[in-house]
Symmetry: C2
Subunit: 371 residues, 2 copies
């Protein structure tokens, strides 16, 4: 089992045992993180970023790791999340394979990878793990917690389970509960992996690896992260040059868009552990902020004790549709939070926050500057 | 190879050889169809319906086959497509497995099923085959050709290749060319089938059948035929009762929406031939009405010689998005056609035309009543 840990990664050990929401506990677990900027003596300038399913903690380049991070244009000196002012922490999700403990990690009780013996993973566990990192860094009150996509769920859970740990919140293309349409897509991605004979009940290695299943899952992911509108402008109906086609295969790749998907998938399948993918994917399906108070989603949102919030969504997002960010803003407002809802017209779908910095930069930067 | 032919189906033999657009020809091929209503002596009251990928010719119940058809609420005496006035013909697409000749049919040259030796299938071939049925019934001028989804492509192609055969056209959730987003989805469906070891290069039988691949393809289809909005109201986050769950499978079905998809897929996989699915799916990717004049999509639309048209789309359709029906109406208008674009607010996505009769009925019925 290969883990994929950026070179500048640092680690915080979780309490051992670390109890999991749905039962069981982790022993000797850790969370990977990176930081940018300088923590003030008052410790009042800290921001936490919690991520989507696949990113590592390397959101932007650092002295230890000058390679560009996954949110490079958003995070740094003078950028929207301005590290001249803010001390920024990004954690790799618990259950991932990018440094934090997950199903691909070694179980100290057996000396072998957990695989499917890893306890059931919830968004709430990821929130508890992230909160532990924050406190381990000596921070008792975050200026803001920013959550993207799955991280938008993690952030809401952190606010519910660790009241007072954050003053404000930016929710980006996130959700207060999983929708059945998104559950259906994730369920199909998991089925593709599980149907691959090389998945073998989670017991694969590098030589027998569920490559086809991961490729299908990733392609479906990329399709749902983008939008019809964007791809029409980007790919149109352009065909592959004949030297990039396999004329022996009557159903092989023919259009540029198919080649784009294939390339995306090939880069991903060996860089993310399939069991970790299954665990993180399922954790999203289970999430409903209403569970935090044993009530409705709306009641769960209204109970979150923060001062201000901004929920940003994108009109072309089919995976976490705009109504979900509107629900977050309205739910928080019902609880007395000064919460704004910002729908953006980005053509890029769910992934717009990674690429449409022209729209997301001012939105995020403006909110932070006003704090 | 099983074909699935409704009991009331009738047949028209195609000319033999029947040349195919991309090369090759069919010998001894036929097209399945059904009719409703009575053809006037003037033969001026005929309507042709061309379908989406999977339907058969049984659009509505008949005396020969009283079982409900796939468009039962839309078609019949006093219904929006009123068979007291209109003589209606519905054809099963060439290349399908519901009575018309396709890859699952017997190749008379070999006495064995065509499988992948079937010639490359284009939307244009389906249009030529449908036009032949119309003429074989003694009809030289249709009052209207109605095309749904893939049938919207077939109808446009028929108008281009058989000028004068139809006076008017209703395009429902169709497209003048395939978009890269839709190509990506269909490409992934085809990949799921082809990855199934039981597909075996197209050489399967009932005992070794690409069931998993077809199930994946169908689930992805159903996901893209519907919408997030509809499913939230319909399924929410309801869990399956414990007696419907497999507690031994940690990633098994848990939510009602997963069970719904599974049920849909199970009903489909043995009722549609996998090779036919591949051929029909690919034919959509290739389609661009601009090819009919060797020019742009817009120019292809502007060249279509009809009097009036109506293009209907649905705001929640992610597979044939609304902009595509708008493009059809605008393109036809640029060619001097009296063409209207009607966007509907149905929550049901691409499949709305099958279920949202409340909106589609008046739209289709109103247009036909005005002829």
């Amino acid at each position: 089992m290969t883990e994929f840990i950026p070179p500048g990664t640092r680690f915080v050990d979780l309490p051992s045992p670390f109890p999991m929401k749905r039962g069981g506990a982790l022993h000797g677990a850790r969370v990977a993180f990176e930081t940018w900027g300088t923590l003030e003596a008052s410790r009042g300038n800290a921001i936490l970023i919690v991520t989507g399913l696949s990113p590592d903690a390397h959101a932007a380049s650092t002295g230890d790791d000058p390679s560009p991070g996954w949110w490079e244009p958003m995070l740094g000196p003078g950028k929207p999340i301005d590290t001249d002012r803010w001390f920024v922490v990004c954690v790799n999700s618990l259950g991932s394979c990018k440094g934090s403990t997950g199903p691909a990690s070694i179980d100290p009780a057996t000396g072998a990878p957990y695989r499917l013996s890893f306890p059931e993973l919830s968004i709430e566990d990821g929130a508890d793990a992230a909160a532990h990192v924050v406190r381990a860094l000596g921070i008792t009150r975050l200026a803001c917690v920013i959550g993207n996509s799955m991280g938008g769920m993690t952030a809401l859970s952190l606010l519910a389970r660790h009241p007072g740990l954050a003053r404000t919140h930016i929710n980006i293309c996130g959700a207060a509960r999983a929708l059945p349409f998104s559950i259906a897509i994730r369920s199909l991605q998991r089925e593709a992996i599980r149907l691959d004979p090389h998945w073998n009940g989670g017991d694969y290695d590098d030589s027998r690896y569920p490559e086809s299943g991961m490729r299908m899952a990733r392609k479906l992911g990329v399709i749902t992260y983008r939008s019809a509108l964007e791809w029409d402008g980007r790919f149109g109906r352009v065909r592959l040059e004949s030297d990039r086609r396999d004329d022996e295969d009557p159903f092989g790749l023919e259009f540029e868009v198919e080649s784009y998907l294939e390339g995306h998938a090939r880069r991903f399948v060996r860089r993310f552990d399939p069991n970790c993918y299954l665990y993180l994917s399922r954790s999203m399906d289970w999430f409903d902020i209403g569970d935090s108070i044993g009530g409705s989603t709306e009641a769960g949102l209204a109970a979150l004790p923060i001062e201000r919030a901004l929920a940003i969504g994108v009109q072309t997002d089919i995976l976490f549709p705009l109504q979900q960010q509107q629900q977050i803003a309205e739910g928080l407002r019902a609880g007395g939070v000064d919460a704004a809802f910002l729908p953006l017209e980005s053509p890029q779908g769910h992934d717009a926050f990674l690429v449409d910095i022209e729209r997301f930069g001012p939105a995020v930067g403006g909110f932070l500057a006003s704090l």
